[in-house]
């Protein structure tokens, strides 16, 4: 925003007078505030450095690195077995077995095209606090920390698609551990500008200062390429509780929080098919997240 403020060529912040409200607006019963006739959403409100970096540099590089050359359209997939033909005297009175088998890890990636270059769709953070089982007020510190780190709050900016910070409740009953409906953690999904700003903070402030952090571990070379995680295009890792103190939003008043919280981070990309997770890792390494083979 500094560029916006500093350029004095033409003001863009004079909006004129507020229009008079002529139509009757319904009022919120609780707050007595008028309800606007259209949902008001806030979208991107400042230029985003990492998003620009993606479009100027990373997208091109990711396309070149992950490009697989194919000439012409792909052949039709091989039929899994001969189709059942009841007029054929051989199959006529035989059992027609259902087609089975796990197809998940066998799907090839979509053809390399400019519109499906790997890109970041959302970042999902979540954290479980075991002491929330004894008292749910123990979650307040975690919620405040997530709000500070991500800049999101409940229905922030009138948005309903992204719910801001959400409570996670138990689903199952496991003796001595969890009960259904009990709040045990918090999560938040970040998209767009908030997502890139979080990534920016993470790679500029947190990861370089994190002790004994060499990089996000890669699976061994021998691990399966057809597993669900390898073909889903999601890269996940965790941050230890010590990392929370390194976020500048929390560093300023660290002693206001009852304790430090770790979190799981999932980077969800649009990559699908065989090798999707590797393409997602290539994208993230373009954003300077280091990876390390142990």
């Amino acid at each position: 925003m500094s560029a916006v403020a500093s350029s004095t060529t033409r003001s863009v912040v004079r909006f004129g007078r507020t229009p008079r409200i002529t139509r009757h607006l319904r009022k919120n019963k609780r707050t007595q505030l008028p309800i606007p006739q259209v949902p008001i959403l806030t979208r991107q409100f400042a230029p985003c450095r990492f998003e620009d970096h993606y479009h100027t540099t990373v997208a091109d590089d990711a396309m070149y690195m992950t490009y697989i050359h194919e000439s012409g359209p792909r052949p039709q997939p091989r039929p899994i077995r001969l189709t059942y033909d009841p007029s054929d005297p051989y199959t006529k009175n035989r059992y027609n077995p259902p087609v089975g088998g796990q197809q998940l890890g066998k799907k090839p990636p979509p053809p390399s095209r400019p519109d499906n270059v790997v890109r970041l769709e959302k970042i999902s953070l979540h954290s479980m606090q075991k002491d929330a089982l004894s008292s749910k007020s123990n979650l307040l510190g975690l919620i405040m920390a997530l709000r500070a780190v991500t800049g999101e709050s409940y229905k922030a900016g009138g948005r309903h698609t992204a719910e801001g910070i959400e409570l996670v409740r138990g689903k199952k009953s496991v003796g001595g551990w969890i009960r259904p409906g009990v709040p045990v953690g918090a999560k938040v999904d970040l998209k767009g500008q908030a997502m890139y700003d979080f990534l920016d903070t993470l790679v500029e402030f947190v990861l370089p200062r994190l002790r004994d952090f060499q990089g996000v571990g890669l699976p061994p070379q021998s691990s399966s390429v057809n597993s669900t995680s390898a073909v889903s295009g999601v890269v996940s890792f965790g941050l230890p509780p010590q990392a929370m103190a390194l976020f500048p939003q929390i560093e300023v008043n660290l002693d206001a929080y009852p304790k430090q919280y770790g979190m799981h981070i999932h980077f969800v990309t649009n990559a699908t098919g065989v090798g999707a997770q590797n393409r997602a890792r290539a994208l993230l390494s373009g954003f300077q997240i280091p990876f390390l083979r142990k």
């Binding site: 230029p47 050359h69 900016g157 390429v225 590797n278």
Partner: protein, 301 residues
């Protein structure tokens, strides 16, 4: 380096799907004149083997954020205003100690931001605060800002190299992608082209590209070739299309590279000049046919 490690494992994919296709060049741009296509010369002999060259499009990415356009600025200002109107109240007592200097500074700055968003009449001076108190607050906040060095000017967004038109500086055009172009003499005339060189027997194309780049531009820079796949191909037009004798084709494969550190130091015997140029500047220097072959590879930003 890291991303290269990442990708080696991504190349492991099931056999069959791609390998069965016939190979052809990815983005083939033929620069032959269209007249030759109408009347192909009768080939008596087999054409000799094509002469293959590997070239590197060495890139320095943007180092300064783009200046938003007027429309973008207006859009951002409007969205910021809505956001400011709708946001949840800022928990002042959570972040600041009551009555602390930092809190005073923050409230003054916040008042300034609100006025900028909603107009000068929005946050009037508080009537319950005496003028002396307000002046003292302002003085204290200014003192604090001075201590923290907030009044220091930021670096200018336009570098000296832009003002002095220093085409060799890597600091020029900070908001744009710039590319390394070399000037050589070929066939008796000066031409501008990307760093390139031949491919030795048994050598892979991307390795040849890296070697040729260092052979032409010196060892004084740290570079990284992005991909093993060529990102473009350019076929040079034969010099005389009239002669029936088949000529060897000249094919140049382009690879993308990033300069990480250092600067190009070309050999003065072979290379007369070099320049770091944006896409638009490259168009004014290179030959028309060469431009047709490379224009879609270069970035508009």
């Amino acid at each position: 380096m890291l991303s290269r490690n990442v990708l080696t494992s991504s190349r492991r994919r099931p056999h069959g799907a791609v390998q069965t296709f016939l190979r052809s060049l990815a983005t083939e741009v033929s620069s032959e004149p269209s007249s030759s296509a109408l009347a192909p010369p009768i080939r008596t002999k087999r054409a000799p083997r094509a002469h293959i060259t590997a070239a590197v499009i060495l890139n320095r990415g943007p180092v300064v954020t783009r200046t938003p356009s007027l429309f973008e600025r207006a859009y951002y200002a409007y969205q910021a205003r809505i956001r400011r109107a709708l946001h949840n109240p800022f928990p002042l007592d959570f972040y600041f100690k009551q009555g602390s200097l930092l809190e005073t500074q923050f409230s003054l700055e916040e008042k300034k931001r609100e006025r900028r968003a909603f107009g000068p009449k929005f946050a009037e001076e508080d009537q319950f605060v005496s003028k002396e108190k307000a002046a003292a607050d302002k003085a204290a906040a200014d003192q604090l800002a001075l201590q923290e060095g907030e009044s220091e000017d930021l670096m200018p967004r336009v570098h000296e190299a832009d003002a002095s038109r220093d085409y060799k500086s890597l600091d020029r055009k900070g908001k744009r992608n710039i590319y390394l172009l070399l000037q050589t003499t070929e066939g008796g005339k000066d031409i501008w082209r990307f760093p390139q060189g031949g491919v030795e027997k048994g050598e892979l194309l991307h390795q040849a590209a890296q070697r040729d780049l260092h052979a032409e531009c010196g060892e004084n820079m740290d570079t990284w070739i992005v991909s093993r796949n060529p990102i473009g191909v350019y076929k040079e037009a034969p010099l005389d299309t009239a002669s029936p004798e088949p000529k060897a084709e000249k094919i140049t494969f382009f690879f993308k590279g990033h300069i990480i550190a250092g600067q190009a130091k070309p050999n003065p015997k072979a290379i007369s000049d070099f320049a770091w140029l944006t896409k638009q500047e490259i168009e004014t220097r290179v030959e028309k046919l060469y431009w047709e072959g490379i224009k879609d590879i270069l970035s508009d930003y």
